[in-house]
Subunit: 487 residues, 2 copies
């Protein structure tokens, strides 16, 4: 007889009745091949003693096994595993593989998919000079939680817990409509705004709707790697355009347009990632003219609009896009907290409708409670206060960080003070081996990027982004001190 | 002179300084064509009086306009709109179109995309016989909020607000691993589980990874419409297989497999949507054997596993899938609340890795606070208590609903009492015009489906799903009373 006491695990706390648990345990034994067709099951009396379970429960379990067709009852002989079971041949080797589900997978999936970095040393280090993330310690989480409680406590049938509109909360779309108009001169109606889960979802939705395999998409020489990965996912052809101190070289783009059909241009006009440069006004206008002439779409990723230290934000392309070529995407993840995934996609009404239909199939809808609460933060002015407070603090941190770099690293690091954003684009001396430095720094408790994020077939320079915003002054000194010692 | 007082809107509450707001206002006037090249700007003195803004601020704004290249200063003459601006020709017609952004859109997007229903009368009616949704009034929101407060209040640097793993919270993956093992006999390691935002995201991710355009995917004669839409999105070919009282006809599938290459089979083994039938054990085993033999993948959508009133859940295909053909997807949205988007995708480790890479590009990651809090609800036993409580209540509601249908609708509605799930598959008399009934019911405050969700090129019968779970007994009587009067 099999060691049933060991093999059969019963949990009286479960909401599933005991006899069903027992029945399922036998099914598992059968399908795993530990019980084979024609095998006799133990008597209900014996099993009852072994497992300390009421005998009637055991009988019910056996009846269930029989009624499901796993076993048959032979009068005066007992219960037997059904002789005619259409069982897959399972042998011991297969069973031992249940801990290693990758072997012998018998269907195929796409393996040409781009690999993205899922986790890095970033989360493990005590200090981190990251890619340019906000300081989540500043996020007004208490105030957000107050809104959560207030909304979830309201006695209106808890409708916010039901299925909602894939376009997102109407209240938040109204708040964004006002915010985009006040800060950016973008005049968008409710129907032009889809609430996303961050800039990245905006890029993904727009790309899925616009790009086809083999079509050409224009990006920077070096570019935000997750946008590149999204375009590659579609099987599109990436055409790289130089970036200089005025942003993407639009004259170069014009030359490309004369010989190649371009479907989409991806730009990050404020503080291009990774280089931090801002696209000049002349180039913005020229880009819009070219879009009209050559009928391509523009994804304007303005994730960094809110951070301008010298107080000179240009109006987005979207605000002066009278020929409707621009899809505008932005996010609160950089201003509030990366894990609170809220962003917006702005575009022509019918395009946004399609994007909502697609989004319906991806994750159905956003988090209503979060969306409603964030709307309240906008309406109550809390968001504005938080914007102002963060901006002031990040401005200070940028200055301190740049001062230390200028003073102590002038032999090794070359950089321009960024006008905005949360990071510096730091060019390291060619003799410096960045992966090696990153490794040594990590051993001393400091994460810094090894430069691989920014490299591609056209760009191989010795640069990394150095995010200053998430470090307070003390942390800035300590981080750069570690780096200094290593260099 | 233009009516600047009306045209220029300044908000002293904004974090953007006044002179930049002023500068941007002029840029908008220029790009909208209200100010043209060569036009003279008003003097700083005049504007200062008009707008009641300090004259130095006006001067700063003009300097900024000049430095950005929008205007030029001519000594002793004033400030003029730059003569050489590369402006797009904008005329009045274009400007009036800013309220109607769809006209003259100058790029193309995919229009063959499937349209999905974004909003219906469902949200507007005071009573609703829906597709089979839970009663959100039962959701333990207070307890969830307690967890939110507890986690967000902990003083560990608020790391949960930072970027996290696209696979989802480790704590929740552990909780799901235990839950899947206890309730379903699925033995999944952390690496086999991706936290999704509901079953639909599981379907979407798996489909994107497995299906290519023109490949064949097998679904039911009638099928969950959002799954069909997801497969159509990929440009795949849907092959429909009959569904009878034992679920999908696997013998029929076997015949199809002899002549056609099938890449993917989509099954809803418990309470198939919409028909509510359960796939029999024999067919489950045969399906697994066929998958091994013909090397196709199976998406097992088990969204409804938790609701079994006659206490007879079969083990999922995934639990006896020793040849690794099955991708398993499920959700808490039906047990907790639709708007709390949490689900799981279970499969081979390398497949799940790819799914996480793809998910990284879609929305970066889930909501960490929600994921951590739900993990606590599992660990504290609250989730189990909620499962038990809902199950008992829904059981009662099913019985009441079915009783009323049997007693008062036997001439009009034909149905089987469902063994589980949250809805009845109701066949209406052929003489009954469902869209008409739905319209009349809505006028009396009752939403019922008009049947269009379930129809397709192969299925045109007079059926709808009647969800009973979200209505209390009084509401059941009132809803069916309205329906009775209309019929």
């Amino acid at each position: 007889m099999l060691p049933y006491k060991t093999l059969i695990k019963i949990d009286r706390e479960l909401s599933i009745s005991l006899y069903i648990q027992l029945c399922n345990a036998f099914i598992t034994l059968i399908t795993k091949g530990l019980l084979s067709p024609y095998d006799k099951l133990p008597s209900s009396r014996k099993l009852s003693e072994l497992l300390i379970i009421n005998r009637n429960t055991i009988k019910l379990a056996f009846e269930e096994l029989v009624s499901q067709g796993w076993a048959e009852s032979r009068p005066r002989k007992g219960i037997f595993v059904m002789a005619t079971l259409p069982l897959t041949n399972v042998n011991e080797k297969d069973i031992s593989n249940t801990q290693n589900l990758d072997k012998n997978v018998s269907f195929k999936w796409k393996n040409n998919y781009i690999e993205t970095v899922l986790l890095s040393n970033l989360q493990k280090a005590s200090l981190a000079i990251n890619d340019g993330f906000p300081d989540v310690r500043l996020a007004p989480v208490d105030i957000l939680m107050r809104e959560y409680r207030s909304i979830s406590g309201k006695n209106f049938g808890k409708g916010f817990l039901n299925y909602g509109n894939p376009m997102g909360s109407e209240k938040l779309r109204i708040a964004f409509s006002n915010y985009l108009s006040d800060t950016r001169g973008i005049h968008a109606n409710l129907e032009n705004i889809l609430i996303t889960r961050g800039s990245q979802m905006g890029i993904y939705l727009a790309t899925q709707l616009i790009l086809n395999p083999l079509e050409n998409v224009v990006v920077g020489y070096t570019n935000y790697f997750a946008a590149d990965a999204t375009f590659k996912l579609m099987g599109s052809n990436l055409i790289r355009i130089p970036i200089d101190d005025k942003g993407m070289d639009i004259d170069y783009l014009e030359e490309v347009l004369k010989t190649k059909k371009i479907k989409l241009v991806y730009v990050i006009p404020h503080h291009h990632s990774p280089t931090t440069v801002t696209l000049s006004m002349e180039r913005r206008l020229k880009l819009l003219n070219l879009a009209k002439q050559y009928q391509f779409a523009i994804i304007e990723d303005d994730y960094d609009f809110d951070f301008h230290y010298s107080s000179k934000p240009f109006l987005p392309l979207s605000s002066i896009d009278f020929n409707k070529n621009v899809i505008y995407t932005g996010s609160l993840c950089k201003i509030f907290a990366p894990a609170l995934r809220i962003g917006f996609l702005v575009g022509p009404e019918k395009f946004i409708q399609k994007a909502a239909s697609l989004r319906r199939l991806i994750d159905r809808q956003g988090d209503s409670l979060l969306e409603e609460s964030v709307a309240e933060l906008f309406n109550s002015g809390e968001m504005k206060r938080h914007f102002r407070k963060s901006l002031k603090l990040y401005h200070k941190r940028r200055d301190v960080f740049c001062d230390v770099l200028k003073t102590n690293f002038s032999n090794h690091i070359n950089f321009e003070i960024p006008q905005g954003g949360l990071a510096i684009w730091a060019g390291f001396d060619e003799t410096i081996n960045l992966p090696k430095i990153a490794e040594l720094a990590f051993k001393k408790g400091l994460y810094i990027n090894d430069g691989s994020y920014y490299k591609n077939e056209k760009f191989n320079a010795n640069f990394i982004r150095m995010g200053f915003a998430s470090l307070n002054e003390d942390e800035i000194y300590r981080s750069l001190d570690i780096l200094k010692k290593i260099l």
